[in-house]
Amino acid sequence: MFGAGGGTSSYREIEETDLVLLWGSNARETHPIFFHHVLKGLHRGGRLVTVDPRRTSSAQWADLWLGLDVGSDIAVANAVGREIIAAGLANQEFIAEATTGFEAYRAAVEPCTLAWAEAQSGVPAEAIRELAHAYATAPRAMLCWTLGITEHHNAVDNVLSLINLALLCGHVGRFGSGINPLRGQNNVQGGGDMGALPDRLPGFQHVENAPLRARFDAAWGVAVPPERGWHLTGMFEAMDRGELRGLYVLGENPAQSEADQHRTIRLLEGLEHLVVQDLFLTRTAELADVVLPAAAGWCESDGTVTNSERRVQRVRRAVPPPGAARDDLEIVFEIARRLGADWGAPDPEAVWDELRRVSPAHAGMSYARLEELGGIQWPCWDDQHPGELFLHSRLWERPVVGPRAGFHPCTHEPPIEALDAEYPLRLTTGRRLSEYNTGVQSGAYANPLRRRETLDISPEDAARLGVGEGEVVRVSSRRGAVDVPIHLDDALRPGLTFMTFHFPDDVATNLITIDATDPKAGTAEFKAAAIRVDRLSP
């Protein structure tokens, strides 16, 4: 946010805020222990508002649930912004002192009346108004989101439309007020922080910023390539163009996790050389020329991961890796050695200390301090610094320290695939409590909650289609078709259906999802495909 790639707040603040606005997130199931902190806040008198097409198990705890149509988030967010301005509830002092671009934002949201947003989103105007007033008048308010916001063709605009609301009310940079993406993997935050992004060096430092890059050139004694690379979606596009011909995949299963699976597998098969480093012989690994068996990072090796509150924490080896599996670090060091660079013996703490030398925000996080303090939240500038509970307090200094935060007007664009007579139902996807992603990890344990893949559908649609619980139907999109049993779910409104992608060997959900992607972030529109449902035996 505003130059720092991480959520602004701490879990503790979730307990002590007045309002939690959970937008496009079913944290009760996907981030269960985060939701414990939300529940603590509710028991202390805080309120919860959820915005989600489904009446999820999180929404069941909410004081107010806005069941919007998939992909209408910006319409609702802009109407909330307009209502806050129109009702005189915007934080004029904060806007004047700490932000830029307000007038352009005001002009952009002016047409977004409550009635217009109701027509776009299906959410009653009165509910949107209630959200606007609740958020703007709460002394402290937290805005949290997950993939319901980011797995769309306009992911970046979705996020910016929410950040605009925080700027409008001054709900950022203060204790109990912040904006937070809840991270989906145990180190997706840390991976980005370490530079595993196409435009970033370790410490989230921009690779095209010459003075920053020069420090890495000096530290490493090499010339770091000065231009950004491709993100995942860009890599597949480059494969399609024949520009990318070799791929080294560490701990990902794109053959099953990417949208439009037929295309993904065709492109992976077309590579000249594919190396996969993983715990398992995944579907992606089956396509590889070389498979490097890896140790499990969280229990068979040492290192750090970073969570959704920017807390860097130690992972430690508890058990030895099986067979010939080796630590990721060991494998990378060995590849380097064979390429002619002898980095010595792999030592996780030494690698971390090197990171601390090149990333100022991690400089004070020695292993000893991480141990002593139970993890540290970045930034942590030196050996005395305790880490920061929340980010951007500088926006409340007068005058503001550093650049102001900019409003970014966003325009509502419906999902790429409109519903029509041929594909009249909306399919959205997500996780369930006891499963995880493509099931590579979660498929192994005996799980009493496990039910296999289903097409979850509203009772109204089921009745209209004449299908009942458990009946196997054919679900088709413009890209493919799968056969899957029906599950009636009254959390779904008519017209909306839901599937997971946890059981790709049984039901390859990503055969039917759409690979339309956001031009800025490259995220795929997993949340909005148009489908039809046909009975197999009329």
């Binding site: 130059g3 981030h31 352009a104 204790f175 921009h206 068979e300 924490q313 139970g374 650049p403």
Partner: protein, 312 residues
């Protein structure tokens, strides 16, 4: 969006964010007043709001507890922590009673010793406490002899409830401390799958309508296992290994690490025996978890092993 606005946004992402000029902090809360009381003739100073249990611990007086846990709301169920408070007709539970200025407390008086002894004897005569850590030591300290109630004393002995793949409920070990009910309820999980059913000696922890766990509201977070003081609630892997005689705590290591699933960052304590994970807990003082986990964090570790724990 104007062109110069775009440039501004890019610049923000291009440069490292400015440092805070002062440390972001929670609003200050007034420090609680210090109060003075007397415990066993010693003057003790504690922060206002402390319990008598805290006050005892602050001067190194060890108090037995069974139903108390620092992350749960005291329910005053077991009464093994009682102390004598001058001016109070009855003994008071130290876990729940707040310290007040001028209190005079006795933790080892004859009344306290007799009461703790009797509580331990009543529990010991009716419940299997063999896997409750510390209880044997407390029995010795208070000269408790549960056997004096005779071999025909009523017990809660009953078959183990083994109705799912993740954990078993051995209610022959249940002292009705309510911790599991609290952890399943508002103190942590808020799932409300269990409650105490029945009255008097027949009271027991049960699911709704006493249905088997798979038919109940249980989401298998195992946070009840995490708080159980007597091993009445136990990992299936531990139960199976104990049955086979292969459960060997002396060969086990514990290692703290971070869960491999979502991005919340829960601390897991991995209990490993002979190079395999056999149980997962979380430290009560981990700020992220306060000891609580979800089904994946607590049970979803089999993927690192060839064969499920418990077969070993």
């Amino acid at each position: 969006m104007s062109a110069d606005h775009d440039d501004g946004a890019d610049r923000v992402w291009f440069e490292p964010p400015p440092r805070s000029v002062r440390l972001p902090m929670a609003p200050p809360t007034p420090a609680p007043a210090t109060i003075t009381l007397e415990i066993d003739g010693r003057e003790v100073q504690v922060a206002d709001g402390s319990s008598l249990l805290d006050a005892c611990a602050s001067i190194g007086v060890e108090t037995p507890t069974l139903c108390f846990l620092k992350t749960l709301t005291p329910v005053n169920a077991c009464r093994v922590c009682v102390v004598e408070l001058e001016g109070s007709r009855t003994l008071v539970p130290s876990c729940a009673r707040k310290a007040e200025a001028g209190m005079k407390v006795h933790t080892d008086s004859p009344r306290v010793r007799l009461s703790r002894k009797l509580v331990l004897e009543l529990l010991g005569s009716s419940v299997d406490l063999s896997q409750a850590p510390d209880v044997a030591r407390w029995m010795a300290r208070y000269d408790a002899h549960p056997e004096r109630f005779g071999a025909d004393a009523a017990t809660v002995a009953q078959p183990v409830k083994d109705d799912n793949d993740l954990y078993v409920r051995d209610y022959a070990r249940c002292i009705l401390c309510y911790k599991c009910v609290e952890a399943c309820g508002t103190d942590a999980q808020n799932t409300f799958a269990i409650a105490v059913a029945g009255r008097g000696f027949d009271a027991r922890v049960a699911t709704e309508a006493d249905v088997p766990l798979p038919a109940s509201a249980c989401v298998y977070c195992g946070n009840c296992i995490g708080v159980c003081p007597t091993n009445a609630l136990v990992f299936k892997s531990e139960h199976v290994m104990r049955g086979k005689g292969t459960w060997a705590p002396e060969r086990q290591t514990t290692t703290d690490t971070i869960c491999s699933y979502c991005g919340v960052g829960c601390t897991l304590t991995l209990h490993a025996q002979d190079g395999r994970i056999v149980k997962v807990t979380s430290p009560l003082d981990a700020s992220v978890t306060e000891g609580n986990l979800c089904i994946k964090g607590r049970f979803g570790f089999d993927f690192v092993d060839d064969e499920p724990a418990g077969d070993g």
